[in-house]
Amino acid sequence: MHQVMIGADILEANEQMAGHNSGHFEEHGVYVVNLMSAPGAGKTSVLEQTINRIKDDLRLGVIEGDLMTTIDADRISALGVPSYQITTGTVCHLDAKMVHSALHSFKIDDLDLLFIENVGNLVCPAEFYLGEDLRVMVFSTVEGAEKPKKYPVMFHESEAVLLNKVDLLPYSGVSLDELRRNVLEVSPETMIFPISCRTGEGVDEWIAWLKQKIEFGNGERRCVRLNS
């Protein structure tokens, strides 16, 4: 028997492909946001609200990830923004290779800002770096105040957390203060934006912050993978 010491990162191949994607994005001057959440938290609604407010200032594109259907890509196309749907079949997250393949059929040359809407899942997408500049998580307040403690990794990996559906707080009985405290305990440096895609509350604050990130982030790109 012969023992071979390896010491390699298991996701090394994905990280390399993500680095390659990041090179493409940089070459074309595109700022890339990876949007993650559980199913139904409101990622596509956040995109619709965001797109409507910035599409006159920035050239936008969206890559959508879902197990099946083109429903989300169709919603984005309806706003006049180019979109591309990745259907993963049974895979519960996007990986760098899927995004790379999408870039062959989806032109990013003329874009300033590309959103990648990940597959709805509170666990797996956090493990796969896609080459993005910024990781943002959408969490709907109705999911419960304790969830950051139960699923800490994705919260910890996100630079901003949008607490969506705050208009439903009076009906859900969830305490926004408790939720906010739990997010900050799990990820002390994370920016928190309470928003409602229904009423538009808080969306302008999120967009002002995002625009600032794009302005400062595009000159000096960095890997946002927080745990490496």
Binding site: V4, I6, I10, K149, V153, V186, P188
Partner: protein, 121 residues
Amino acid sequence: MHEASIVRSVIDIAENEARKHGGSNIRKIKLKVGEFRGVVKEALEFSFAVLKKDTLAAEAELEVETVRLRVECGACGPVDCPMNDFNLLCPRCGETLTIVEGQEMQVEYIDLEDAEVICTR
């Protein structure tokens, strides 16, 4: 269930290393996985049992070592941070804690039955 994707990468890495060393029968793959990664040991083992068929690791056992979470405060030193109440704020001074261990995701080594001893010089 992204453990299947992870196991596929593990087998790729192990097979590449085995070929590099002229081996065709991997007997063991040893992983180190941090507690603070979204990975379930049982799901890794289940995926491995299914995915190892028809690979050089078909007869291999998988050993997964869980690396405990270890955090520390720049000012106060090591702090106890249980996974069931994960909190990165120092209980003494309120500063942000640093994760020292518990985010590993590595193939540590493989055991090969029939490797040639290759001189790398």
